[in-house]
C-alpha cells in the first residue's frame, strides 16, 4: 500500500496555513483578505481580515472582541466551497464554537484542528474524529509529563477548599474565553449553586455564552458586591488579575488557577498560586497521541506547542510527521 501523500495545494507558513486554490488562510496572524478561523482565542482569531469564515459562535465571539462585521457563518457540518476547495467545520471540543477545518480537493482530505481537547466540557460540543490524509494537530501539551487528571477531581479540590474556608474567598484565575465558562459549568454540574463572582473582564464573555444557550447559573460582578457577601464564595478573574491590586477588594482571597500548566509545580509557584487546578482546554499527551492513532492519517503535521516531542513519538511509532513552525502562538494560552 502506498502511504505517501503528494499534496501541494496546502502550505504551512510562519503566520498561518495557506490554501492555495482558495487563496485563503487558516488562523492567520497577519490580516489577509480571506480568513478561515478555527476559534475565538486571540492567537487564532485576529481582527482586520477582509472576509472571515467561522462557526456562528466564533463569529459572535470575534464580534464581541473586534467588532468584526464581514463574516460568513458556517455551522458544524455545514459545507462551503472556495476556489474549488470543499470546506467544512467540525467540532474540536476546545471552547464554544471551536472547529476543526476539513478541506477536500482533488480527492485528498486535510484537517486542521486548531486547538482541541478530548474530554467532556459542559460548555462546548465534543471533538469529532474525521478521517483524512493530512492531519494538522496542535501540540500545546505535547510532552509525556502532561497527563491532565480527571476534571471532577480538580473541581472537588476547589470545592473542598471553598467549604473549609467560610471567611475567605477562593479566587480562581481562568482565561476569559472558554476556561472561565467551563469552570462555572463544571461547578454547576458538581452541584455548586451559589452565586459565582466575576472580575469585570469576564462578564461580557459569560453573558455571550448565556445568550448562545450555555446555562451558567447566577453570576455577580465583583464590582457591585459587598466584601462580606463574597466570604466563602468562588470568584473568577483573568490570570493577570491574580496578583493585582484588584484582588484586595476580596475577603482574604486564596489564590487558585485553572490551567494545564499547573501540572508543573514550579510553574504554579512562579504565579504565586496556592491552589493549582490542573484543568486544560487542550489535549494532554495521551489524548494527542490517541487522537493521531484514532484519525490515522497518512501524514501528521504538528503545529504550535512542543512539536519536538510529538515528532519523536511519531518517529518511534513509524508515523509520518513533520513539524511546522508557526509564529505568534502564545505558549501560555490555556
Amino acid at each position: 500500500m502506498d502511504m505517501s501523500v503528494d499534496i501541494d495545494w496546502i502550505e504551512p507558513h510562519p503566520h498561518g496555513i495557506y490554501i492555495k486554490p482558495a487563496d485563503a488562510w487558516i488562523d492567520s496572524s497577519k490580516p489577509v483578505s480571506k480568513a478561515l478561523v478555527t476559534h475565538g482565542h486571540a492567537d487564532h482569531a485576529r481582527g482586520g481580515h477582509g472576509q472571515v469564515w467561522a462557526t456562528p459562535e466564533t463569529l459572535a465571539i470575534m464580534e464581541l472582541r473586534y467588532g468584526q462585521a464581514i463574516g460568513h457563518a458556517v455551522p458544524y457540518g455545514g459545507e462551503i466551497e472556495i476556489g474549488g476547495v470543499k470546506i467544512s467545520f467540525h467540532s474540536a471540543g476546545h471552547v464554544l464554537g471551536s472547529a476543526q477545518i476539513l478541506m477536500e480537493y482533488q480527492g485528498n482530505k486535510v484537517v486542521a484542528t486548531g486547538d482541541y481537547k478530548r474530554r467532556a466540557d459542559p460548555t462546548c460540543a465534543p471533538f469529532e474524529i474525521i478521517p483524512c490524509d493530512i492531519f494538522i494537530t496542535e501540540a500545546t501539551f505535547g510532552l509525556p509529563v502532561f497527563k491532565h487528571p480527571d476534571t471532577a477531581t480538580e473541581i472537588a479540590k476547589l470545592l473542598q477548599v471553598q467549604q473549609t474556608h467560610p471567611d475567605r474567598s477562593v479566587l480562581v484565575g481562568a482565561y476569559a474565553l472558554g476556561k472561565a465558562q467551563r469552570l462555572i459549568g463544571e461547578l454547576r454540574l458538581a452541584g455548586y449553586d451559589e452565586p459565582i463572582f466575576l472580575h469585570g473582564a469576564l462578564e461580557k464573555m459569560c453573558r455571550l455564552y448565556t445568550k448562545l444557550g450555555i446555562e451558567l447559573g447566577e453570576l455577580r460582578p465583583v464590582m457591585d458586591s459587598d466584601k462580606d457577601s463574597m466570604k466563602g464564595k468562588i470568584v473568577l478573574a483573568p490570570p493577570s488579575a491574580l496578583n493585582d491590586r484588584w484582588s484586595r477588594r476580596l475577603p482574604k482571597p486564596i489564590t487558585a488557577m485553572a490551567s494545564g500548566w499547573m501540572r508543573v509545580r514550579q510553574r504554579a509557584r512562579q504565579r504565586n498560586v496556592e491552589l493549582p487546578l490542573i484543568m486544560s482546554d487542550h489535549a494532554d499527551w495521551d489524548e494527542l497521541t490517541q487522537t493521531i492513532k484514532d484519525v490515522s492519517p497518512k501524514e501528521t503535521w504538528i503545529t504550535h506547542g512542543r512539536e519536538d516531542a510529538l515528532m519523536r513519538w511519531c518517529e518511534l511509532n513509524q508515523i509520518k510527521a513533520k513539524a511546522l513552525a508557526l509564529v505568534g502562538r502564545e505558549e501560555e494560552d490555556d
Binding site: 509525556p144 497527563k147 508543573v264 504554579a268 509557584r269 512542543r306 516531542a309 519523536r312
Partner: protein
C-alpha cells in the same frame, strides 16, 4: 508516603512563612517516629542515600520511557525528580491503601546495594500515584525546593514542642536522623540529650551587608574579609572536625588541617590555600576551588594546594563557653591561643587600624590582594550569637568589577526559574573581531528583566544544541563580578568569580562591548 506527599505539596504552594512553620510543626506532632525524623532530615537536606543518585533515577526512568522524550521533558520541567514522577507510566494497580511508610522506604533503601536500589525504587514507583512518586524521589534524592530553610524547619520543631530555638540549634547539630532522642526530649519523655565531649557544630555568627556608613569606628573593629570558605574547627582533644557554613562536616576534604589541630577548643576562621601571592600568603579562591567538593584528597593535591586557616574568633576554650563574652575579650583569648598552634596551618586575621570611613575606604580600595573580598566590621562589645543580628557584624565588600559583554547562548533554568531561559553565556571581542565566551551568569536581574531576557532568547534563537540556544549576538549585558582569573576551561582563558548580570544595555550596540584584552588587565 501519601501524608508526606501532601505535606510537600502544601509547603510548595504556601507562601507564608508562618503557615509553613505551622504545617511542619503540625506534621511533627501528628506523625510517629521514625517517619517524622526522616522527613525533618529530608527537609533540612540532611538525608543521604548513597545508593540512590540523580543519575540512577534518570536511568531508571529511561528504562520506561524514550530518552529523547525524557530529555525534552526534563528541559521543560526544570527538575529531574518531578520529570520522572510525572513521566512514569501509571500502573493500573495503584492502590491508595497499599501505602508504604517513610520509615520503610528508608530502611529498605539503606540496606540495599546500588544495583538493587534502582529495582527497589522502580517497584515503589509502580505502587504510587504521581504526587506520591514525586515525594518518594524528593525524599531519596533531596533538593526539595519547597522554600524551607534549615532554620525554618528548626523553628517549626521548636514551636511544635514549645522549646527555645537557640537550644534546639545547639542540640540539632549533635544529633543524627531520625532524631529520636530529640523528639523524646521535645515530648518531655526524656531529658535534654547530653552532648558533653562530642565534636559538634555550633551555628555561625553572620554579618549584614553594610549600607549605612554612620557607624562609629571607635565601637567597631575592622578586619579583612578573606575570600576563602568560612570554617569552624571543633576539637575535643582526641578528635577534630571541620564544619562548613552550612554545618557540613568537611574534615576529610582537609585532613592536613584536621590533623594539625590537637587542641580542645572551638574556633571560627577562613579556610584558604597558600599561593604565590603576597609572598606565599593566601591565594585566590580559584586555587582553593581545586580542593573543594572532593570527598578524599590525594597527597599530591595537599602538597600543591596547601590549606591553612586564618582565625577570626574563638567560641570555646576547653569546656569554657566564651560566646557570651564581648568580641574584644574573645579577641584577647584568641591572641593568647594562636601562638600554640602550628604556624604553617593557622594564623590570626589582623585588625585594620582605621579611625574613620574615609581611611577605611582608602585602605579597602588599596587592597588588590586576590584573597581579600572586602572588610568586616565587628562591634567590639558583641557576643557571639547565631545567625545575623542587626547592629553587630557588617561586611563591606569591595566594589565589583564590571564589563560589557554580549549574550551568546542561553539555557533554561531550574527550580523557580523552570521553563525560563535564565542561564546566559556571554562573550567579549577579540582583536580579530570574534566573540569569545568569558563567563556564565544566572542571577542579578529582576523578575521583569528575566521575562525580557527570556523573550529575547525565544525571539532571537539562531541555533539549537540540545537544551542550549544560540542567540543573535546583539544584546549587551553589563556583567558585574568580584574578580577575574586565568583559566584553561574557557577559550578566552578567563574565569570570573561570582558573575551576575548587573544591567541590560539595550542602549548599547554589540560592537561596543568590551574586548577580551581589557578583561585580561583586570586579573588580580
Amino acid at each position: 508516603m501519601q501524608v508526606f506527599a501532601d505535606l510537600l505539596d502544601r509547603l510548595i504552594y504556601t507562601r507564608s512563612r508562618n503557615e509553613k512553620i505551622r504545617l511542619i510543626s503540625q506534621y511533627l506532632k501528628d506523625t510517629p517516629d521514625p517517619d517524622r525524623g526522616w522527613v525533618l532530615a529530608a527537609l533540612t537536606n540532611s538525608l543521604d542515600f548513597p545508593v540512590v543518585k540523580a543519575s540512577s533515577v534518570r536511568n531508571m526512568a529511561m528504562e520506561r520511557v524514550d530518552e529523547t522524550l525524557f530529555k525534552l521533558s526534563r528541559d521543560f520541567v526544570g527538575d529531574t525528580a518531578e520529570t520522572v514522577a510525572l513521566i512514569w507510566p501509571d500502573q493500573p494497580t495503584v492502590n491508595p491503601d497499599d501505602d508504604m511508610s517513610v520509615g520503610q522506604v528508608v530502611d529498605i533503601l539503606a540496606a540495599a546495594s546500588r544495583k538493587d536500589a534502582t529495582v527497589i525504587l522502580a517497584n515503589f514507583m509502580d505502587r504510587l500515584d504521581a504526587d506520591a512518586r514525586y515525594a518518594l524521589l524528593k525524599l531519596t534524592t533531596g533538593g526539595m525546593r519547597v522554600g524551607v530553610s534549615a532554620r525554618l524547619a528548626k523553628t517549626a520543631f521548636a514551636q511544635a514542642f514549645d522549646l527555645n530555638l537557640d537550644d534546639v540549634e545547639e542540640i540539632w547539630h549533635a544529633m543524627e536522623p531520625p532524631y529520636t532522642a530529640m523528639f523524646a526530649w521535645g515530648e518531655k519523655k526524656a531529658g535534654r540529650p547530653d552532648l558533653h565531649g562530642l565534636p559538634y557544630f555550633r551555628p555561625f555568627m553572620l554579618a549584614h551587608p553594610l549600607d549605612d556608613k554612620a557607624l562609629d569606628l571607635e565601637t567597631y573593629a575592622a578586619e579583612w574579609k578573606w575570600d576563602g570558605i568560612r570554617i569552624q574547627i571543633v576539637g575535643t582533644g582526641n578528635e577534630t572536625r571541620l564544619f562548613s557554613r552550612s554545618g557540613d562536616d568537611i574534615s576529610s576534604t582537609f585532613p592536613d588541617i584536621a590533623q594539625a589541630f590537637g587542641h580542645h577548643a572551638v574556633l571560627d576562621g577562613e579556610l584558604l590555600v597558600r599561593g604565590d601571592y603576597q609572598g606565599g600568603q593566601a591565594a585566590s579562591f580559584n586555587a582553593l576551588q581545586q580542593r573543594l567538593g572532593r570527598k578524599t584528597v590525594s597527597v599530591k593535591m595537599q602538597k600543591e594546594y596547601p590549606a591553612f586557616v586564618r582565625l577570626y574568633d574563638i567560641l570555646f576554650e576547653g569546656d569554657t563557653d566564651l560566646r557570651e563574652k564581648s568580641w574584644s575579650d574573645r579577641r584577647k583569648y584568641l591572641e593568647q591561643f594562636v601562638p600554640a598552634l602550628n604556624p604553617e596551618r593557622f594564623d590570626i586575621s589582623t585588625i585594620i587600624k582605621a579611625h574613620n570611613f574615609d581611611d577605611l575606604s582608602a585602605i579597602r580600595d588599596g587592597a588588590r590582594d586576590a584573597a581579600i573580598e572586602g572588610v568586616m566590621l565587628k562591634k567590639r562589645d558583641s557576643p557571639y550569637v547565631s545567625g545575623r543580628k542587626t547592629g553587630l557584624w557588617y561586611k563591606w565588600k569591595r566594589d565589583p568589577l564590571v564589563a560589557d559583554c554580549v549574550m551568546m547562548y542561553a539555557q533554561r533554568g531550574s527550580g523557580k526559574r523552570s521553563s525560563f531561559y535564565s542561564d546566559f553565556t556571554f562573550g567579549c571581542w577579540t582583536e580579530e573581531g570574534e566573540l569569545y565566551p568569558v563567563g556564565k551568569a544566572y542571577s542579578g536581574f529582576t523578575n521583569d528583566e528575566l521575562k525580557m531576557l527570556d523573550r529575547f532568547v525565544r525571539q532571537n534563537t539562531i541555533n539549537r544544541f540540545g537544551p542550549v540556544r544560540e542567540v543573535e549576538k546583539t544584546l549587551v549585558l553589563e556583567v558585574a563580578f568580584d574578580s577575574i582569573h586565568q583559566s584553561k576551561r574557557h577559550k578566552s582563558g578567563l574565569a570570573m568569580r561570582f558573575p551576575r548580570i548587573s544591567r541590560i544595555r539595550t542602549d548599547k550596540p554589540a560592537s561596543e562591548a568590551d574586548f577580551v584584552a581589557s578583561l585580561q588587565k583586570m586579573i588580580s
